[in-house]
Amino acid sequence: MPADRTPPAPAIPLARWADRQLQAMTTWHGLPRLDGATLMGERGANGGYTITGTTSAGLGGSRLMPARDGEWFALTLIREVDRELLPALFGDAAIDTGDWEAIAAAVLRHDARDLVQTGRTLGLPVARVDETPASPAIDVMLRGERRDRPEGHRPLVVDLSAIWAGPLSGHLFWQAGMEVLKVESLTRPDLIRRDDPETFDRINQGKASLLVDFTDDAQKVALMALIRRADIVIEASRPRALRHLGIDAGALMRETPGLVWLSITGHGASGDPADWVGIGNDCGVAGGLTRAMADAGGGIGYVGDAIADPLTGIVAAREGLSALRSGVAQQIGLSMSAICAMALAEERAHDRAMIDAELCAWGQAIGAPFPTVSPRALTAPVRPIGADTAHYLNAFARC
């Protein structure tokens, strides 16, 4: 297609749903008015993404491929180490793990259901187009004691999450006036800082930056002391990984009245789904968005850009703000795939014809650029990694 005939960019489906959540947070919690289409589309717009159908936008790390049973299977391979698991996924020691064509051929030799089951056992981010989310979108898993906060109290947020969904919720808490500490692991830092600084800066501006060595007991003790002083904790680890780090959410909840603990996972924070890995694009598939687009006449493809991430970030902020206002300590599990399904169901109830038209237009716009959004100016500094470690950890280590 000649460059001057590029089709117009359609709207990102569910951006209007996102915008209504943000409007409600402005009304009820005093959040500055932020635009849903901007939060959902700023990464794609900044990055110059195009709509690419069965390949995810941007780096193209997620692919939708037909399986033997006719169902479509989604696989995200954005870590080289995950490719080492492909021989086990396909039961084939000889597969060329670096070649998407070989991978697609192997997918065709298996049923999607089996690949999803094995893939989840292996810890690969996988999904199929016709699955139903395994967990509730929002799950209050634990409740603890109540804490009444004095008028004018500035809440403290400890953000242990990475990538997009969790940090976006932390960004919204910062927008709401809270003190937000972004905590990164020395051995597993948030790689978005390096790989996509435009997006990183927008959603992490104004946060203090702590770098913690989780093998150092003194630092871990100081971090736990910090968490006991916090009003909100955001984490996006599988519960098992958190336990291996020595972070016991249940115990911290019991010890800390009023603590709001947001557990963001791909497919749920309890039971078997807690061990499954999910990332923005495959979670959108697992949440039924690709099926909805196909049913609306838009064919099989990814909807939006890692769509489960911004939707989840917004929902996590909404739930966190409500929980904080209630004063009751609670751990809230947020399932990215189920949040996509919830947003779709609510948007269909709101205006079925409109969301179907948007999904259809998105699916038919292969080759079109992502919609432009007005770039958000940075209004606060982005702290260098670990710049505030000493300030916060030393202060609390003495308590």
Partner: protein
Amino acid sequence: MKPGTRLKSAACDTEVMVIRAAEGQIECGGAPMGEAKPAEAAPLAADFSAGTLMGKRYVDAAGQYELLCVKPGKGSLSVDGQALVVKDAKPLPASD
């Protein structure tokens, strides 16, 4: 041993999925692992009783073997009597 094969411990509850393997004998708790559980449990060898952790990947020094623990147990993993060790956690994904 074909990648993707699930093996069960004869000595404890451990189950693994084979990620990568050569021709050696894969063991847990000091006893050979198999696709089926034997009728009679094998004794748990004291030298191989440190336990397995769910979701951890276990490797040998030469990188020929890699096993993913899909069900934890009291035994520990070995190949031909050589203990396997836990592989480091994967880095966080950068973007998708």
